[in-house]
Symmetry: D3
Amino acid sequence: MKDIYIADLVNFDEGKLFDGFFLVLLKQQRTTKTNKPYLNLILGDKTGQLEGRVWELSDPRIAKEFERGDIVKARGSASRFDDRLQMKIDQLRMAQPGEVDKTDLLPSTTYDVAALWRQLLSFVESFTNPDLKLLVTTLLDDPALAAAYREAPAAKQLHHAWLGGLLEHVVSLLTLADRVATHYPLLDRDLLLTGVILHDLGKLRELSWEIGFEYTVEGMLLGHIQIGTALVERAIDSLPGFPPRLKTLVLHMILSHHGKLEFGSPKLPMIPEALALSFLDDLDAKMQAMATEFDKCIREGKGPDEMTGKVWSLDQRQLLNTKRWLGEGKE
Amino acid sequence: MKDIYIADLVNFDEGKLFDGFFLVLLKQQRTTKTNKPYLNLILGDKTGQLEGRVWELSDPRIAKEFERGDIVKARGSASRFDDRLQMKIDQLRMAQPGEVDKTDLLPSTTYDVAALWRQLLSFVESFTNPDLKLLVTTLLDDPALAAAYREAPAAKQLHHAWLGGLLEHVVSLLTLADRVATHYPLLDRDLLLTGVILHDLGKLRELSWEIGFEYTVEGMLLGHIQIGTALVERAIDSLPGFPPRLKTLVLHMILSHHGKLEFGSPKLPMIPEALALSFLDDLDAKMQAMATEFDKCIREGKGPDEMTGKVWSLDQRQLLNTKRWLGEGKE
Amino acid sequence: MKDIYIADLVNFDEGKLFDGFFLVLLKQQRTTKTNKPYLNLILGDKTGQLEGRVWELSDPRIAKEFERGDIVKARGSASRFDDRLQMKIDQLRMAQPGEVDKTDLLPSTTYDVAALWRQLLSFVESFTNPDLKLLVTTLLDDPALAAAYREAPAAKQLHHAWLGGLLEHVVSLLTLADRVATHYPLLDRDLLLTGVILHDLGKLRELSWEIGFEYTVEGMLLGHIQIGTALVERAIDSLPGFPPRLKTLVLHMILSHHGKLEFGSPKLPMIPEALALSFLDDLDAKMQAMATEFDKCIREGKGPDEMTGKVWSLDQRQLLNTKRWLGEGKE
Amino acid sequence: MKDIYIADLVNFDEGKLFDGFFLVLLKQQRTTKTNKPYLNLILGDKTGQLEGRVWELSDPRIAKEFERGDIVKARGSASRFDDRLQMKIDQLRMAQPGEVDKTDLLPSTTYDVAALWRQLLSFVESFTNPDLKLLVTTLLDDPALAAAYREAPAAKQLHHAWLGGLLEHVVSLLTLADRVATHYPLLDRDLLLTGVILHDLGKLRELSWEIGFEYTVEGMLLGHIQIGTALVERAIDSLPGFPPRLKTLVLHMILSHHGKLEFGSPKLPMIPEALALSFLDDLDAKMQAMATEFDKCIREGKGPDEMTGKVWSLDQRQLLNTKRWLGEGKE
Amino acid sequence: MKDIYIADLVNFDEGKLFDGFFLVLLKQQRTTKTNKPYLNLILGDKTGQLEGRVWELSDPRIAKEFERGDIVKARGSASRFDDRLQMKIDQLRMAQPGEVDKTDLLPSTTYDVAALWRQLLSFVESFTNPDLKLLVTTLLDDPALAAAYREAPAAKQLHHAWLGGLLEHVVSLLTLADRVATHYPLLDRDLLLTGVILHDLGKLRELSWEIGFEYTVEGMLLGHIQIGTALVERAIDSLPGFPPRLKTLVLHMILSHHGKLEFGSPKLPMIPEALALSFLDDLDAKMQAMATEFDKCIREGKGPDEMTGKVWSLDQRQLLNTKRWLGEGKE
Amino acid sequence: MKDIYIADLVNFDEGKLFDGFFLVLLKQQRTTKTNKPYLNLILGDKTGQLEGRVWELSDPRIAKEFERGDIVKARGSASRFDDRLQMKIDQLRMAQPGEVDKTDLLPSTTYDVAALWRQLLSFVESFTNPDLKLLVTTLLDDPALAAAYREAPAAKQLHHAWLGGLLEHVVSLLTLADRVATHYPLLDRDLLLTGVILHDLGKLRELSWEIGFEYTVEGMLLGHIQIGTALVERAIDSLPGFPPRLKTLVLHMILSHHGKLEFGSPKLPMIPEALALSFLDDLDAKMQAMATEFDKCIREGKGPDEMTGKVWSLDQRQLLNTKRWLGEGKE
């Protein structure tokens, strides 16, 4: 476990020493006005990121060969420039394998991933439709896919943008969808839950989360809807006897889950399960985005009577935390 | 109970006799080419409406003084003109009070209204917030309001457009919202359920449902959002000690429940409960609209492989009934 | 070849006899006011469609077992009802296999399909990129796919809505795209032409054209963009050594060819070839829609100074035929 | 009266002394790189706002207990940092009650508020409809409401964003609406003028103008349309015998005065008076926004041939001052 | 003056005789089921239009050579078919020049055109800017243009769609604009009034009003904004010494008077006068459209409590006539 | 020719000397914190622009009388402030006429303007329609217009934003349009090419390109569509016997070439040639914008796997350079 986090550094007094592991998010060679070369770095961990400067390039305590994406151990002191904190770095070396847990270096879910995964599997276990059960099991049994599924963020920025975020979002949706499915006789529960589990599968390849969260070029050009549809179609085609109509319905749910053409779904939901999926997916994303904004307000020291800033993923709305405003929470 | 319904008449052979109670939806005096006066009527009941003609105006068996909105007993025979069925009416008299149940004359919920009402009250009973409980109880204890609440349709045409439709929609939403509230710690359950019960209260005066479903002039000019907000505000102001912040939140939920400015909400949802309400309200309306469309397809004899026509309340989408298409239903 | 077409019948005098082959587009049993049963038919061929009535159902000269989609030989006389022409049918029998060419019964391209196909193949022949050449060849060598490709309409209604319309549209686009590719050094010609040939491949399964032009249920739920992408992806995956980046680009072109999210493309064109394809596809469709409208005006007897009606596929615009208005054409 | 204004300071040379009253808009404690604490302030008055720094926190001439919203007397010198002017503050004390006129500290109307108020009352005096006259009089006779009405800005930023701006806007609109009412026989003058006086009444609670102009939380959640409608409805309900139809019309005018759903009106104008009100309100706001922009250009030293920057409240348009461009004004 | 109008005929009993002058709006030769030829006509006058039939084509009392656009004298009797009234025509001859006033045959303004024209000229007379006065005078002195200006409708359908409608609309706008100009010091009155007089000048060639109201081909392709701008530009260029900046402003007002790009203005209003013109033009058109709708309701026998149908030119809104609803009018 | 360009300076080390000709784009007198006056300049040439500072205002080697828009010779050294390069200027004088080529000071086409002009003229030479040939020739024979046509940029920022850019765009479009015209028999080639040559003619007065690229006030108020239409209409009116219908069509093409009302075209394309022009104009602009973005990426050192930033003129899309990504180019 890491001893010190970016979030701690922010409150350091000028000159206070630190020593810890960080992920290199940017490395640039620059020159001062007086022509002195120095390194400009951005170092990050799961709590945030911060600028750092290495002034003594020839110091033997400064490693030469590290790059963007490497994990390093850095030692130095806090330093303020124009009211912004920087890290003045005196020593820097590559981290040894195993010295630090990678999940400490990128934001990640606060839930227990193994428990989430068991919840997911127990939902699959409950399916009564053998074809859908076999399909989902086949996909989740693929070790590489399962590993990625447990790690992937749900988005680059909008909601659940942390390691394990996709799984956290899907398990939340499964619970929700299960309750909704029993409420409407029109809905085929297993089909709806299958849609929940598979709808964002394409994100496993649309996004990369090795060093920060980025879109891959393939992700930009094809999008997770297409990537996921293709993945699922291939899995279905490998299952002899999977009913063709059921295949069409499963694919339709993935294709239409954004709910509107202008959000990148090439088809509008045309079956009850697809309609329900698009509503619940959107609701869960927005509820989580709200929770994230409210946490941010508390972290930033805003009072209970202050609304949030304009939230991009909620149409620039400003939000109010009901429970805090009513004084129900126990701050 | 009525013996014969419009829906039955549609399959009558030419000249077959009928005798039943109907609601007069239109009454016009017209003249034939050869200058003969006749009555053109539209008669309806809960299963639909049909054109009727009275040729012998001076026949003593034809009542003189009936008007639009009256319930009549009509006797005559089926008659086809240009392939469309008409009622050729030989006898017509005003119905006696009590001869026919009004709920037979307008479409109405298939649920037991008393049971729905008990479900609604038991949700209120479960509230832990005393202010909200008192507010909702005060409103529902008003006998006139409660009577209207049990009768009102939820809309003129789009969804739950039948007597008792509003109550049916609200009880469905309560069940759903209750499940969602327990899923998200961010949500104040009693506030959300209060929003569900009160969000469409203005429809009690926006719509009239005496003779068909119509907008009142007041409803057209003010809308149910404003009418409902005013009703609730007045109720709150009559409760000494109701917390002002809670009042603002309750009113905000009614104001924002359409979710978008262009749908007539003057404010976007800015608190978690309002966001959840707007999603669930929309989802329940669309699920019901789907169910109605699928029933219509079956009534019209469409096969399981045929999609519905373009559905106005679902952006002109065509829909497919999953369970029928997969052959799961037992037709 | 057929002797008589629907378009000829329209000018028949009352009572004039006809005898010809037609496709049954609708068959309904109905009853007159006086309770006499009759058949109401809609018969069509490549020039249009017309209502027909069979009054003597028990006449042995009237076949019993024909259905929607059958080809029949009908004999009877022209008859006018309310100023609209009908066919009064006295004899009707199933057509023998080979008696009539199916292309006479649905609208079809005026071009020689074999010649269009050769043009298409010679474009493929000219490719210098061996991977793209192999991909396209592999697809077009599939006999079932090739047969469908030669028959499919390009759309249900909007443009090139006739048998062979897809092929006609693609060959027109190939010529155009070839000229544009040599104009912009930025463009990879083979990639652009591959996009042209494959962009609408999904229509082979989105549409059916056995009896009139209809969407299949699969077509409605998945759309030709998804169906085509999957078809091409499967073909690529069967080619060992196909470069993965090239695969991504080919799929991107199909996904983005509608040019806008709201037209059902899940991705906007992000490479030069995709941008060019979306422009040229749209231009060719609209030029053909204009030509079709102008032909219709001439057929309907409109003068050169009259604009067309409002054209749905061109945003309800009214159009003017430049050459006719300037008197350049030789009508 | 104040001796020195922010607008004067902007032209001060480095080191020139100042001494004056200001409103504290922001107060933050910060630390320099060398760990020295200092105060960062934003001070404002009716002409603008400026950053100030207090370096000697322990100096007895620097008050300890002032907060955001206090009026202070500050003495110091002008100082430039990175080409931006700052106030270097050496002495600072709380202002005594009565030392400075609050209207000097926030931007306020250049008109005589008492005269504007008399104009407003004389319009009311001219009403011939006794019900409307009584309604408006009842509202304006409430001393708290009248005081707020005379002080409120018309908006936070868009137009008439200064103390007294609402009254100024309403009186301008009354004059205009009176002229329009006599032009169209369709218009009921008293109803139109009533709409003008009451349409923005909700802004008295939507906005706060104690320290800068801000939205209240209630204002954010309910909006001035709802707040104003409720205020007026309550006033009407307190008047026995007020005609119900007239009440509906008055409320409709407030509800619909933004003219479009997407501007937050839950209803479109459906009566002539509401339509006229929405047009004139929008026109007056935009004419005033134009005048404000043109004044700003002159203040900033732009020439008569230069257009304004992009104006947010006019769809990012750039504007030209006709009279200046034609050289008609006498600058 | 005409003795009998279409509006009178509508209430005729079967077989009642008529004899009057009408404009031929359509002439078609048709054939009955039994192969008998007849003429189908549409005859109109300023009160409406009606279908007519001539059965005895060879009757010497029926003129042979009349065409669409001719004025005819027709004699016959009222006849009902399918509940719709028709004219059964027994005699028909061309009208003699002078027998009937053309303004009786197309809908036209109820105002005195000569008086409206004098009002227009007296506004011009009041101009103090000599350049603008000369420009407007030059244009209105052109006899052909002045004649067309006095006759033109303001639109094909939306508002003031009658002969003299343009002049009526302009004079109403002048009065209104004059009042607004004196209210805002920012506005150059003469420039605003010039914009009012010239803004729709292009309609003199965009529309034709000889036989019904139609767009010309030139009108369709160029639009009245371009046609009017060109007309005015040419007039300005013929005036030596007209200030170039003033020319730019006048043209800008015509170009921008629709107020939005999507309404066909290539430029948004960027000067105060153009902004005011676009608001007032829109307001006057909508007030007149409202008045027309309310008149239609009275004519159709709707009660004061009934709203209008959905009005196309007012975004499908339904409207309520305030004065009638309040019972103020004396019907 | 210039010896040194802004683009070279960017890579200069601190303190390295330069000496070259530049265009003055901004000149401001400022004061330091310590009250020392200095000059802040922005100097530019065809490769970019850079900030410069003159500290010794009284040095006799610094010219006094230069202004924005002048060409100067400046000598000094590179200097870095906050990691941004500046020019520290020690000597500065006005350039002598002829010392520097103006095309070196603003970005300009990389093509040979004389050759482009000959290509344009040879297209005109190929016209078979004598009226269109005479019209275009008449316009291009005007020496002032021809000089401006050869110099004008095609846009301020979006595409072809360099001297000669308009001509470069038109010649590219002519080649393209010629190929398209021969592909569609519906198209009148000469009319289409006339539209290409004249569509942006108004830009000669909408934009100014003396010092940087700016809109003129006339350009802002009227727009190049109106300015160009008027220019062409005047030219046509000077040609006796030019067919009126042809005039309408030519003007329609200019008016409608932006293709959509919301892009500032007052009319949608309604003839085949106008539709084709609007497509090709848009395609050529976007292809050039793509090429410009890809060049910028290479200049900025982005790798072949990196997509461009969000491109404003392509709806904020990010783009990928196909050929570089596939490794086809030989960088």
